[in-house]
Symmetry: C2
Subunit: 190 residues, 2 copies
Amino acid sequence: MRIYLAGPDVFLPDAAAIAAAKKEICARHGVTGVFPLDPIEDAAATAAPQRFMKIYLWNEAHIRSCDALVANLTPFRGPSADAGTVFELGFMRALGRPVFGYANAAANFRDRTLAFLGEAARPRREPDEWEDAEGLHLENFGLQDNLMIDGGILASGGRIITRAVPEALRWSDLSAFEECIAALASARQN
Amino acid sequence: MRIYLAGPDVFLPDAAAIAAAKKEICARHGVTGVFPLDPIEDAAATAAPQRFMKIYLWNEAHIRSCDALVANLTPFRGPSADAGTVFELGFMRALGRPVFGYANAAANFRDRTLAFLGEAARPRREPDEWEDAEGLHLENFGLQDNLMIDGGILASGGRIITRAVPEALRWSDLSAFEECIAALASARQN
């Protein structure tokens, strides 16, 4: 079983070390981790003149080659997960394969958005409902992120694992990641 | 031709008015706009006990029923587009149908991220390369958003239209949206 390892981990200064650690966890559970930066042959990517398009097509080919996806949904420069990761999650869901997510952050989406907006958040007339300074509503379903993310993961048969870890460890702690891998590996055996 | 109208427009206080305005533009170009909040029958959604899951499944059914998608990529509570919109973009790309995006913001992704990080951004040794306070790199391809978004749109045959509009009008100005619809409608006729 090949698992695509989606996440903003690619932006880390030690991306190669995180990739190796994630792959080692996958191997320990009898599955193969595929990191976005892994080398891959793809004719369309070879033909693409622009670097960003090559990377896009490599990632798309990696995802298509995998049986499942595990996304690092730890909030990234705002209340939501990294945009590239979310794109890949939607892509894999549409392929009909299991998608899992984990986040090293315990607060739910509404509370993170409130913290992000600070003074700019305004209460609505309805109890416990909020909007931003421009009147745009804050989703309030007690979910990990925008409902399309939680919904897509659950609809695929996947799970979302969250962990409260010290902020300094949120890009390196892999215990929630390992729980996703263990769930996928054990589902395959049943 | 049915076009799914993805975007954080659903959170606007006047979401119904924006939906009507977008559908009117679609009709003028001879295509049908499908708004996420439009009513739809879906057996799985009917069976789902939770409200958020019903909404997820309705949106997924809407997307599957459409021939193309136009996403409002105007930055939403951070440097990137709304996470739900990005999920839907990846989903439609995986279905192999055209996806277009527009944004009422002219700055590119790197510059928006630099503005978002402010003092927390640090220059790297390489010229014109930046990282955040935790060392995570800032994508620097001159794109509209994370490369998966731009790449997915271009790989699908779509386009990204950006417009510098006054900030107060960024949720209501539909000229970039109309340019996407016109491009889709005219491609269908050729």
